[in-house]
Amino acid sequence: MSKEVQVTTKGSRKTLEVARNTWKFIKQDYEEGHEHKRAGKPVVWSCAMVEKELYYAMGLFPYYPEQFAALCAVQRKTPDSEKEAVRFARIAEQSGYSTDLCGYERVCTGYVLNGDLSDAPLGGMAPPDLLVTTSSICDVRLKWFEDMAQRLEVPLFTLDRPERVFDRGIMQYPKAHEIRYYRSQLEDFVNFTTEVTGIKYDPERMRECLQWAHMTNELRLEILELRKAVPSPMGCADGFATMYPGMYCSGTEKAYNYYKALRDEVKARIQEGKGQIENERFRLLWYGIPTWFNMGIFNYFEPIGGVFAYEPAYNPSPWPPLSNEDPLTEIATRTLSVGTSIGARLEAILEQCMEYKIAGGVLAYLITCRPVYLPTLEIRRVLQDELGIPSVLIECDLVDERTFSEGQIKTRMDAFAEQILKKLEAGEPLQRRAAGA
């Protein structure tokens, strides 16, 4: 690897013990998947937005190519070689995949094209028996999984989620035809899985997984509530580090136990009055998916008293309470209750900035992730107009560190911090209350 492309990226310093130990959880999970495969049981590669209980209820072990790409962003084959994400992205680009395409997609496509699926961090993802994706949020996941199905010759199922738009708020009870349609998708998924693997659907098992998922979700919501405390007991580095069990193992007892421990640790810190740092002076929002190859960015403002207190990505929404309805209807209703329009997302971010007492926003302008970057300038505008909060844009890919201009980004972040420090020095409020709030 030539010196000029070497970027001085690094991992983050985390506050919480549970967060520091998540790596063990992930390693163990990958190993369990390989065990599962060796035992002749089916493996699914899935996009991150699918409801995970479906897999655990159907006896499938799930791997998530998006998460795998993030893993590749922090791992090198040897200490001197480039990051695995860059190695795989190059393979895809050499085969005609545009550099404008999502970093996750390029990394995983390169990994598939490389031929040997075990030639990757943690032995790679165990070879899939089926692929599952959803239409939700982004187009690329659908096209990317289609492309993988064609290349791997592995059957694909797509869950088509109606994309709902509301005038106000991010949650509304879905309409009957929407629930009917999405439920039929879930039922088709179940039938498809039975056809490919021979495993039959057991509603009781599904209900059990739903129960774990709901209890886990409640814990995660409780943690989000706890994170509003001043000083901030758990920041974005911890938030991103601890999302894996909730995002990818929801519906299991191990995920529930993980968040129970995390909730207890956060609670204990609040009781002790311990924040992420000694002297918290201002709190920041991180918008978007993190720059996985450079998580150290989350500690950047700590020397001047700045902490990242909240990140909207990967956090759960409140779910309708569990009922004794048919589990597939329950899942459909829950999923469709959340709207995804930009207007609803902006409204939610404004509320969160007030709740978490945010003084500034670091907006990850991820150049290959359209659903993340499209609202970025509007977020900056409404934060400034409604709350008087400054923002800074961090421009790069999610996993491909070749796009990261460290010097330029640090200069921007320093100028951004200056704006907040000036307010502090002048004794001005760090946030102006929104009209009507």
Partner: protein, 388 residues
């Protein structure tokens, strides 16, 4: 007759304004060819497709990131500048990520002609209509779901207009749209000959005008034009036969036709201002909303998929639109950040080469005329290579 169609290439806004002044009827803008235009037409509204200008952005770049789709940004900029101030409504289907976001951007940033008519918090006269278009176009329950979506859209229109849109209105619109599709198909049939009866650019101009003209006028004018072409036995220029696949082909992007046809001739395409907008007719024997839903779902948009273990719906459309056209080479002209297209191209290129023996060239455009000109070298070299 070409002059009639060319008006829309010259100044589409002036042509539509003139029509509106003459008829006093409403005009709605829409994004993407999946839009159920037939419902608008049944309501006596003229649907016109929204396109950009290719000019430097004046307003939209404060709101939309610079690396996002240059076509969609230009559309928004045109709206914000008031170039579309004659629109009485706008229809946004959930197609690609950016078009989906137009539901917010257009509603928030583009001035609307009338104030919202709020009753109990509901706008009785919505300016922006969102269509929850499924991403899966074939599959169990897709059609009943989408029919319900279209029923909701129809009701919104009825509320705005203060009158109902009957099945008879819809059936009449379906008849008109089918006649136009039949004439467009006939035009493509005439491009199968060697040399083709008309150039790719002419065919594009005619198809493009059809996105703004009332479909009955377009179908009648096209019929007369094709009758005349058949009558005088005219043939277009000879050249290497090219299949063109790409992003939204409006006036700016269509410069690529002119460039390619300096060296060869475009005979067929995989374009939303092209085959995807008319190839598959409506089925009048079905209940009207279902016929419209099935037509809309059948547009083979690169963003869509089907229920199949290995989905190949996009390849199926390419097979349909290359068959008998004697295609010698394919050019993919794709705008930057058009992820749906960029993601599928490596696979489709392989299939074209391996299954049809058709080599291809990929060009990534930036939605400027200058950007097209910079493609002269690769286009010339590619066609020279095909000529052997």
């Amino acid at each position: 007759m070409m002059e009639l169609f060319a008006q829309y290439t010259e100044d589409r806004h002036a042509a539509v304004r003139k029509w509106k002044e003459r008829t006093g009827k409403q005009v709605y803008g829409y994004f993407c060819c999946v839009t159920p235009e037939e419902i608008l037409s049944a309501a006596d509204i003229l649907p016109v497709r929204i396109t950009g200008t290719g000019e430097p952005l004046q307003l939209a770049d404060l709101h939309v990131p610079p690396n996002s789709c240059p076509f969609a940004r230009s559309c928004l900029d045109a709206g914000m500048r008031g170039l579309y101030d004659y629109l009485d409504g706008v229809v946004v289907p959930n197609t690609c990520d950016f078009i989906f976001s137009m539901e917010y951007f257009w509603k928030t940033l583009v001035p609307r002609p009338t104030k919202p008519a709020l009753i109990a918090g509901v706008d009785m006269r919505p300016f922006v209509h969102y269509i929850n278009y499924p991403e899966k176009i074939v599959g169990r329950d897709v059609v009943p779901f989408y029919v319900e979506v279209l029923r909701g859209f129809k009701q919104d229109l009825e509320r705005s207009l203060g009158r109902s849109i009957t099945d008879e209105d819809l059936a009449r619109a379906i008849g008109v749209y089918n006649e136009d599709k039949a004439q467009l198909k006939r035009m493509y049939e005439m491009r199968k000959s060697d040399p083709p009866a008309l150039s790719g650019y002419e065919a594009w101009q005619i198809t493009y005008a059809g996105l703004m003209m009332p479909k009955d006028e377009h179908a009648a004018a096209l019929k007369a034009y094709l009758d005349d072409l058949e009558g005088n036995g005219r043939r277009g220029a000879e050249g290497v036969r090219i299949y063109l696949s790409g992003s939204a082909m409006d006036r700016v992007n269509a410069e690529i036709y002119k460039l390619i046809e300096e060296y060869g001739v475009v005979v067929s395409d995989d374009l939303c201002v092209g085959t995807r907008s008319f190839w598959y007719p409506l089925r009048p024997q079905l209940p009207p909303l279902e016929a419209i839903a099935r037509r809309s779902l059948g547009t083979a948009c690169p963003r869509s998929t089907v229920t199949a273990p290995i989905p190949e719906n996009r390849w199926a459309h390419i097979l349909n639109t290359t068959k008998e056209f004697n295609v010698e080479g394919a050019i993919f002209y794709v705008l930057k950040c058009c992820d749906g297209r960029l993601a599928e191209i490596p696979h489709l290129r392989e299939k074209l080469r391996e299954e049809l023996g058709i080599p291809s060239l990929v060009l990534e455009g930036d939605y400027t005329e200058e950007g097209v000109e910079q493609m002269r070298g690769p286009v010339e070299a590619f066609i020279e290579m095909l000529e052997g």
